[in-house]
């Protein structure tokens, strides 16, 4: 390096100092800071800003990419009526492509750059796993994660800011397992699992009841769409009942590949993968109409924990109304209902927190009171100081055409070796308020 270059380097450093002075923001001016009661980041007198990470692209996008449109529609519905305690809700959706590295990046943006009040419904087990520790370290409310892993609620001491929402995969596996034991005790059971907690937790629950009936288990890696070897293995094992804990694309792929191999077992799919409309769309294109859109999953079984499109329910009527007034393109689907249900719970939490809204307050309110609020959930929430796990149960259902018909009552249980019992709380019969806006009391 020449003398000139040394001088140049020093000059450049000085220039950099000046430039950095222009571009640097110092400590976050807009972070809101702490008021006496707590952290009001993301909250102003007129707005509450909320963020979420969703797979808008990639292999998990079919179906899941619609969830945020449901959330947004309900938020717009609430805003139209004046917001909650005078504050309107703003939703920032960022795409992570179901890719944990991206999730880390976009959540960084949401928390550090956009200064959101909370993360709502972050989607995906592998993806959200990458950010849950960060969110708890930064003390950001991480509400109603869109995934059934237990990580979101089984240890409130380690992760006090995170709450699950849907039933976790282990209790789903347990309820499925019990149903299989009671109704198909002689079936040879095969397992078709995504290679992470989605598959693993489901398997854990199932094995508590039907371990002796399981003849084969196969795993797939999300992103690799060739599942021929896995389906071949299932077929070779003679399994005549296969339980799938997988995402919607893989429901379609498993049906298609089975068709190719001439394999025709009874299928039970996890709720997160079982939308008959979506599977039907994917399948009918593959087979050029041979498999008609409607009947794609006929005879397959699944579970449900909130009422779905086409069902007789005042909640579904509300969702249709919200979608008609505020929704964008397309019609109401079960994925949009999922998003609306989460948004409804969030709005209830905001309502119950009162005008003095802080991050600490909303977490406290959910932990103490959420299980008492009306909502579309068929079974009560488990939120308490000891558990941040969500809905405690579901019922088995059979798919016919585009609808499901219930096969059992609503059954509730918990992770571990808790028993399965019929739900006595009758939460399922509660209807929404007339105007569709939560009217829970402010928690003292």
């Amino acid at each position: 390096m020449s003398r000139n270059h040394l001088r140049a380097a020093l000059a450049a450093s000085t220039a950099a100092v000046v430039l950095a002075g222009c571009g640097a923001g110092g400590r976050d001016a807009s972070s809101g800071g702490d008021s006496e009661g707590g952290d009001t980041t993301g909250v102003t007198d007129t707005t509450i800003s909320v963020g979420t990470h969703q797979p808008l692209t990639g292999v998990a996008a079919p179906g899941y990419s619609e969830i945020n449109t449901g959330m947004k529609a309900y938020f717009d519905y609430v805003n139209e009526a004046g917001g909650i305690h005078g504050r309107k809700l703003e939703l920032t959706v960022k795409d992570d492509g179901y890719n944990p590295t991206n999730t880390s990046k976009v959540v960084d943006e949401l928390v550090l750059k956009d200064n959101v009040f909370a993360i709502l419904g972050g989607l995906g087990t592998p993806t959200h796993t990458a950010v849950v520790d960060f969110l708890n370290k930064e003390e950001v409310p991480d509400l109603f994660v869109s995934s059934g892993a237990q990580l979101w609620g089984n240890d409130p001491e380690a992760r006090p800011w995170t709450f699950g929402w849907q039933p976790d995969y282990e209790i789903e596996g347990k309820i499925m397992g019990q149903w299989i034991k009671e109704n198909k005790p002689n079936a040879k059971v095969g397992l078709f699992l995504q290679g992470d907690e989605l598959g693993g937790d489901g398997e854990k629950g199932l094995r508590q009841y039907v371990d002796d009936q399981i003849v084969e288990r196969v795993e797939y890696a999300s992103g690799n769409t060739d599942i021929g070897p896995q389906i071949s293995k299932l077929k070779a094992s003679g399994a005549d009942l296969v339980v799938g804990f997988n995402t919607p694309s893989y429901t379609a792929l498993s049906q298609l590949t089975s068709m190719k191999l001439g394999y025709d077992p009874t299928w039970i799919y996890t709720n997160v993968g079982s939308d008959p409309k979506l599977a039907g769309e994917l399948l009918s294109t593959f087979s050029k109409g041979k498999v008609k859109g409607g009947g794609a999953l006929d005879g397959a079984m699944t579970t449900e924990y909130i009422p779905g499109v086409g069902e007789e329910s005042p909640w579904v009527d509300l969702w249709e109304k919200v979608w008609k007034e505020q929704g964008g393109k397309g019609e109401l689907t079960n994925y949009r209902v999922y998003g609306m249900s989460q948004a409804y719970l969030f709005a209830s939490a905001l309502q119950a927190s009162g005008k003095d809204l802080t991050r600490e307050r909303i977490v406290d309110v959910i932990e103490k009171d959420a299980k008492n609020w009306p909502g579309p959930n068929l079974a009560p929430f488990r939120y308490s100081a000891d558990s941040h796990l969500g809905i405690s149960g579901m019922r088995m259902a059979e798919i016919k055409g585009l609808k499901t018909t219930p096969l059992t009552d609503v059954l509730v249980t918990d992770i571990g070796d808790a028993e399965i019992t019929k739900d006595e709380t009758d939460v399922a019969a509660v209807a929404p308020p007339k105007d569709g806006l939560p009217d829970v009391e402010v928690l003292k």
Binding site: S232, L261, L282
Partner: protein
């Protein structure tokens, strides 16, 4: 039974790799460039076909449109981009095709969207039943095999029996001499790329049939097709076919018995072993540099 099914599956996929490898060899022979952008080119033409089919046309119309689009795309790429690259530097052409790779990827995502869409298959997707057992051979896979064989036969006819083919072979052999002898070198080059892209499009369509397509769906084929081409020798079309079949079968065996995560590693090992033992490929006729 699983072995037979695995081999059959590997054979059908192998034919597709063969087609892709053939496209790479055609371009290498005419311009001495490895066209890493062949995969996204095929992906784009497949998406064009999908759009056509979704707007109501039959599968075959979409099929033909994709092939024609391939011809056009190949010609355009050669004419507008490849022709101007500095050939002496062996790095620049590679970077050029890689730049094209990224550009085409991004364009596809912008124009067609990044979601996973299903692509129809021309023929039935249910396995053929033989003596009560279902084979992993569907009418569609038989179609795949026949089409690739037909295309290869047609290309061989073109190169060996027609004047046009002679022109192209001359250009590939020695561009300057051919030019001096009155061959329209530029036209031959454009045609070479156009034909190669046509073959590439075909492989894209065949892979897509009965599966999910998205902008990255052909990316794995770039690696496996390249290894297949190298395996057979970049100068040998016949080698490309053999290489493709070998890759298809080997990778199917690895996937079925060892696990699908090991497949790319297997491809890498095959590539390295071949390059170290027989650097020109199995069917090579050129001597490698010994520096």
């Amino acid at each position: 039974m699983q072995l037979i099914n695995t081999l059959l599956g590997g054979f059908s996929v192998g034919m597709i790799y063969a087609a892709f490898a053939l496209a790479l060899v055609l371009i290498w022979q005419s311009t001495r460039i490895v066209n890493f952008a062949q995969a996204p080119m095929a992906m784009i033409t497949t998406f064009i076909a999908l759009k056509v089919i979704e707007s109501g046309a039959s599968y075959w119309i979409g099929f033909t449109v994709a092939l024609v689009a391939g011809l056009v795309l190949g010609a355009l790429v050669e004419r507008l981009v490849i022709r101007y690259v500095d050939h002496d530097n062996h790095i620049n052409p590679v970077i050029l095709t890689l730049g094209l790779f990224i550009v085409l990827h991004a364009l596809a995502a912008i124009v067609f969207g990044s979601s996973f869409r299903s692509f129809p298959a021309a023929f039935d997707l249910t396995g053929i039943k033989v003596g009560g057992e279902t084979l992993a051979l569907t009418p569609f896979s038989i179609f795949t095999i026949l089409v690739v064989v037909a295309v290869m036969a047609a290309l061989r006819l073109l190169f060996m029996k027609t004047d046009l083919g002679l022109t192209m072979r001359a250009t590939a052999f020695n561009r300057e001499v051919a030019s001096v002898l009155g061959v329209k070198v530029n036209r031959a080059l454009t045609l070479g790329w156009a034909l190669a892209a046509l073959v590439g499009s075909l492989s894209g369509l065949l892979i897509a049939g009965g599966g999910l397509v998205h902008p990255a769906y052909m990316d794995g084929v770039v690696v496996y097709g390249f290894v297949a081409a190298v395996l057979g020798g970049l100068d040998s079309p016949a080698g490309a076919v053999v290489g493709g079949l070998v890759m298809g079968i080997v990778l199917a065996l690895v996937s079925g018995y060892l696990g699908s995560g090991l497949v790319p590693l297997a491809a890498l090992i095959v590539l390295v072993v071949v390059l170290l033992v027989r650097p020109g490929g199995l069917f090579s006729t050129t001597k490698e540099r010994t520096v």
